[in-house]
């Protein structure tokens, strides 16, 4: 009999604890309704052209997105990724429709080639916010990073380190943002050493280990010791390491690929942009005419390789970065000439963002052609 009462008592106690526990846990929810936004229910879709651990572009995008989500307290499980989506209408439409039927609120198209297709698809479904890397197109929030700012620092550091006036640059495909990277590097080098020249070689491929190895070897065979890169495979850092040359890594921190060759890396950091887009999606203010063209923290540098880069050079690079961030240095400021002798920007003027984005030139101290 006693046992029975004890068990009933226990049940009552447990039930009370259960209900109070419930009401206790619902309190923070009430708070979020009052003030801060509730990020826990947003669903995000990401479409990438390769896999998210490709060691390059897709990885940079994916890590940025995860970082932004973490900062806002969005669980990782709210993100669905569709990888290996080719830049053709059928593939993009399949990915978009699958995400739409999954009920995502935001889709991030992480490759510039998706723009026109996503633009058409987004028009038919205005409930889903779509953010697209690359140019500004209708119906999509566009985002792009001023990579030339990071590349300016890369060129600046290379020129400070190099004993000779001649630097190298290994480019992928002649496309406006790649040309911006090359020009940024060359102008940074010139900022450190007015005599600096940058020898350019093209791989004519977005990702090719053999061609990129050839690019690095061609530069090294000309006696070049320091080079910048706008290429995605590990080939260039590794070729540099094998031949006692040095480079600035690209896309992600490439230090571990070639610890004796990489001075530091230029890294795409989309996190601040994604954070803003995520917030706008949740609070309902997302506007498809918005366009982000960001420098500063977005054109991020990895930690310096202390074994190679002396402390005084590290300081100089950081102070130039601070000046860039404050707007005291304009990378595409006048007077600016191309390497065919034309004046691009008159003294005292600055090139417009529109012209920077579609640039079809190489600056004066680049040896090579963009065509």
């Amino acid at each position: 009999m006693k046992k029975k009462w004890i068990s009933i008592l226990l049940v009552v106690v447990m039930a009370t604890a259960f209900f109070t526990g419930c009401s206790g846990s619902s309190e923070p929810k009430g708070d979020s309704e009052k003030g801060a936004l509730d990020y826990s229910t947003i669903k995000i879709g990401e479409i990438t052209s390769l896999v998210v651990n490709d060691g390059g572009w897709c990885q940079a995008t994916h890590q940025s997105l995860l970082a932004a989500m973490k900062e806002l307290g969005i669980p990782e499980s709210n993100l669905v990724v569709i990888e290996n989506v080719a830049e053709d209408q059928t593939s993009v439409a399949n990915a978009y429709n699958a995400l739409a039927s999954e009920g995502v609120n935001l889709i991030i198209g992480a490759s510039a080639g998706y723009a026109t297709f996503l633009s058409d698809l987004a028009a038919s479904n205005p409930d889903i916010v779509v953010a697209q890397q690359g140019d500004q197109v209708p119906n999509l929030i566009g985002y792009q990073i001023r990579n030339y700012e990071g590349m300016f620092l890369a060129g600046y550091a290379s020129a400070l380190m190099a004993e000779s006036d001649k630097l190298g640059f290994a480019g992928s495909m002649s496309e406006a943002s790649v040309r911006a990277a090359i020009n940024g590097y060359a102008l940074g080098a010139k900022f450190a050493n007015p005599e600096a020249k940058v020898q350019l070689v093209w791989a004519n491929s977005w990702y090719d280990v053999d061609l990129e190895t050839q690019s690095a070897k061609t530069l090294i065979n000309q006696g070049i010791k320091f080079m910048g890169m706008e290429a995605s495979s590990p080939a260039i850092p590794q070729t540099c390491q094998a031949n006692n040359a040095y480079c600035i890594g690209y896309n992600v921190d490439m230090h571990d690929l070639a610890p004796n060759a990489v001075l530091f890396s230029y890294m795409w950091n989309f996190a601040p942009i994604f954070k803003d887009i995520l917030t706008a999606t949740v609070d309902g203010t997302a506007d498809s005419s918005k366009y982000y063209y960001e420098g500063g923290d977005c054109a991020q540098l990895s930690p310096f390789n202390d074994a190679i880069v002396p402390a005084d050079i590290q300081e100089k690079v950081l102070s130039v970065k601070a000046a860039l961030d404050r707007g005291e240095i304009q990378v595409f400021g006048g007077e600016l000439k191309d390497n065919e002798g034309n004046i691009l920007v008159a003294d005292g003027e600055v090139m417009s963002d529109e012209d920077i984005k579609v640039q079809k030139f190489l600056v004066e101290n680049v040896i090579g052609s963009w065509k």
């Binding site: 399949n94 699958a98 026109t116």
Partner: protein, 373 residues
């Protein structure tokens, strides 16, 4: 002493029930085989397959996507099939697709502005002519100099695709664009969408039915089957084989060119470097699986479109994209292998005089059914 061996014998007849049952069995086998990859990665196979099927075939949005993805496959399948009907291997549907898009695109983007239905019709024929002329190069080489059409059509693919690349990266590239594509074609040339599905599907059905009737009930269709079964008989019977090679390959190319038409006017609305996207090669698989029956090609194309379309939705479940590709590949291999067993039977025999005789007999019958080569 020889213990015995396995050999494959061509079946003379296959019952209809077997024809239908066989792919079902091998699709199931494909599911079982790919379950291994799925389970090895810590996922449950049944929900994965369930999601693939329900999304790509039973969900409205998914089914529309599958049909739209199947459209170019249908025309490429028909293209390859009509050539196979005469033992001609047209590996070049991919390039003919591209040339069709180039001819049609040139008209749509730079040609004279015509009133609405007329412009679409002109574009249709130009796409067909583009693909047809491209195939005619291989056809002429085959008919007059007996150059292997498999090699020529394959090589012509590279030329056509690189030419398309050149145009889309070069003179045709839309201004202020970073991707290789043209501006959109005039809006009145768009093929209308019916509930999200491209109306190109009706064109595919009409052409498939016409082709079916042509092959089954006309003298031309009959003569093609005579050429397929025995080139020598056809020559003795006075069938103009050369003419047929030219006509059939040109028709084959024209059908692939029409794939360019439906893709440009119905789906993409511009000419793009990656426009064919491998459809021409998938067309070979479709023609093989459908045994060149134009009506079956429509169905098989939708199934393959659904397979392509299901990739994204499986990734949403968390299955890595590589595993999805493996599932797709396993299903394809299994179905293709199944089709092989539909046509051949395995015979286990001991190396004795009797089987030797059977072997000789079989060799003889194989020679009889010689190809155009």
């Amino acid at each position: 002493m020889k213990i015995g061996a396995i050999r494959f014998e061509k079946k003379q007849t296959v019952s209809l029930s077997r024809k239908v049952l066989n792919p079902v069995i091998f699709i199931l086998l494909g599911f079982v085989l790919s379950s291994v990859f799925i389970m090895a990665n810590g996922f449950q196979p049944i929900p994965v397959f369930g999601k693939m099927i329900t999304y790509s075939l039973l969900n409205t949005r998914g089914l529309i996507g599958s049909i739209n993805a199947a459209l170019p496959l249908m025309f490429c399948g028909l293209s390859v099939a009509i050539a196979f009907k005469m033992n001609l291997n047209n590996i070049g549907a991919e390039g003919q697709f591209a040339m069709g898009a180039i001819f049609g695109g040139a008209f749509a983007l730079y040609g004279p502005a015509l009133p609405a239905p007329l412009s679409g019709i002109v574009m249709f024929f130009l796409c067909a002519i583009g693909g047809g002329l491209w195939a005619l190069i291989a056809a002429a080489l085959k008919a007059y100099w007996n150059v292997n059409e498999t090699i020529v059509t394959l090589m012509l693919n590279y030329i056509a695709l690189l030419f398309l690349d050149y145009l889309c990266y070069g003179p045709w590239m839309a201004p202020k664009q970073t991707t290789a594509m043209t501006v959109t074609i005039p809006q009145d040339m768009y093929l209308p969408l019916i509930g999200g599905t491209s109306s190109g599907i009706f064109l595919a059905i009409i052409i498939a039915v016409l082709l079916y009737l042509f092959l089954k009930y006309t003298t031309g269709g009959y003569q093609i089957s005579v050429i397929k079964n025995s080139l020598r008989t056809a020559e003795y019977a006075g069938i103009p084989v050369k003419k047929y090679i030219l006509i059939v390959l040109a028709l084959s190319g024209a059908l692939a060119g029409v794939a360019g038409f439906v893709q440009v006017t119905g789906i993409v609305h511009r000419v793009q470097a990656q426009l064919p996207g491998g459809s021409g090669y998938t067309g070979i698989v479709i023609a093989y699986l459908s045994q060149c029956n134009p009506l079956v090609i429509l169905l098989v194309s939708v199934l393959l479109g659904a397979l392509q379309n299901s990739s994204a939705v499986v990734q949403i479940m968390g299955v890595p994209s590589q595993i999805v590709t493996m599932i797709q590949g396993t299903l394809m291999i299994s179905v293709i292998a199944g089709e092989f067993f539909n046509r051949y039977r395995i015979v286990y025999y001991k190396a004795d005089p009797e089987s030797k005789r059977a072997e000789q007999k079989n060799n003889h019958s194989e020679q009889k059914g010689g190809a155009v080569q």
